[in-house]
């Protein structure tokens, strides 16, 4: 029993230590003298690698999810004779929940894992140490551009996901299943509120972007510099990133629905 309590205490202390170290790591990354002119091209480069290269997987996922939602939604709404509500159903589901959450999960899998592996490998091949020896802070040169690129890319990717998903639902609902286009769009327009739905979805994307990228760069920076260590760090990024997205989504939704 004592041994069990001891292990629990040790795990708790370890958790607190990780939270503290990762918090300081984030603060050291973002709280520094702004060097916008130097940082800007580095961030643009990373937006390409983190954001633009994630576009295809995010857009394709959005398309298929929109199509499936339309198919399932049509099937159910048809029973109640209200298929004209299809646009509303799809748009609200995607903009409020599916867009940010699935976009976040895809981002953790595609961009998060790639960031962790890249930074971990830089650590293992002494690239970060050599940068330190050249009196260049890796947190500024390597971590900060990747962090900001993730924070910028995530809401944009989520917006793209939502637009493509709505388009996918239009293809299935209107073009294939024959829902009236006018009703489809007008119901959607009438029910989606910019402030409550779209802005909240973007806020979620922004928060998920911060958290996933933070986890990814932290795991990469502190990865054990071996093949197995980098593999473990990459797995942790995807697992922790996904769980945090799901958990935070619940918390944010409860705040947003609570009329904060």
């Amino acid at each position: 029993m004592i041994g069990w309590i001891e292990k629990l205490g040790h795990a708790g202390l370890l958790f607190c230590e990780h939270v503290g170290v990762s918090g300081l790591f984030l603060l050291r990354t973002i709280l520094r003298k702004p060097r916008v002119i130097r940082l800007f091209p580095l961030v643009v480069e990373q937006v390409y690698s983190v954001g633009v290269l994630s576009f295809v997987i995010v857009a394709l996922s959005g398309l298929f999810i929109g199509m499936v939602l339309a198919l399932q939604g049509y099937n159910i709404l048809e029973r109640f004779g209200s298929v004209e509500q299809l646009g509303q159903l799809v748009a609200l589901s995607v903009v409020r929940e599916l867009g940010p959450v699935i976009g976040g999960l895809l981002f953790a899998g595609r961009a998060g894992s790639s960031l962790t592996a890249e930074i971990g490998l830089m650590q293992a091949t002494e690239q970060l140490a050599s940068m330190e020896m050249m009196a260049v802070d890796p947190l500024w040169r390597i971590i900060a551009p990747r962090f900001w690129a993730g924070v910028i890319s995530m809401p944009v990717l989520i917006a793209i996901f939502c637009v493509v998903a709505v388009f996918g639902s239009y293809l299935v609902g209107v073009e294939w299943l024959g829902v009236d286009a006018g009703q489809f769009w007008s119901n959607m327009q009438a029910s989606v509120n910019f402030r409550i739905d779209i802005v909240n979805g973007i806020i979620k994307g922004f928060v998920f972007g911060i958290v996933i990228t933070w986890i990814a760069v932290y795991q990469g920076y502190y990865a054990t510099p071996t093949a197995a260590g980098i593999g473990r760090a990459t797995t942790k990024t995807v697992v922790y990133g996904s769980l945090v997205v799901l958990g935070l989504d619940f918390i944010l939704t409860s705040f947003m629905l609570g009329g904060w």
Partner: protein
Amino acid sequence: MTDNFVEIIGLHFARNDHWVLNDVNLRIPRGKIVAIMGPSGSGKTTLLRLISAQLRPEIGKVLVNGVDVNSLARSDLYKMRSLMGMLFQSSGLFTGLSVFENVAFPLREHTKLSEDIIRNVVLMQLEAVGLRGARDLMPSELSGGMAHRVALARALVLNPQLMMYDEPFTGQDPITMGVLVKLIKHLNEVLELTSIIVSHDVAETMSIADYIYVIADSRIIGEGTPEQIANDKSPLVNQFIHGLADGPVPFHYPANKYREDLKL
């Protein structure tokens, strides 16, 4: 200006509750090539990282140019590091940048030189290591020896006063090894550097070192000129220098009795 560029006093460093370095004292005189030799895992690379303040000791002082590097704030430490260059064992080249951009990297970060001057300085550095023609190659297209030479050019591009070489000869073919030995000696003389070589390649290191420290069992077990070390009669130094399979450093890792393990 002190005579010793680097001075280590009573240094203790532990990792995972184990002393990696225990009461180490050494001096690196200005303008000399000093080798730190010893078996794998004896703490040689750790010592280099302590000198460059990438690690902090539990006890003891590391003085570089008369200043305790562990007392410096981050910005002052970075200023101090501009006096140092380091060649890493795995070269540490940035894999996303070409050879030219790798060498230009410190110049772009720390100076406001025009592109024309950067180009000329980089090409001069690459010429010095014989790789001017490889400027457009990526690190993945270089052999191990070439990568080391590019890393050397990059480390020297800001004219450091102290060069640290971490296992520069490990895994190199004989030709590359010869080239690196010659380069290290030549650069030390021409650029009036102070050099620290960490290595376990006995013959190559002894051929260029002015003074040698031998580390084993977390401490310095021998020191002197290459001749003194070659003639050192202490069993540990003797075993290392002459590459004897058995001696104070046993061939076998501690284990139960062989017969017991085989259940005979």
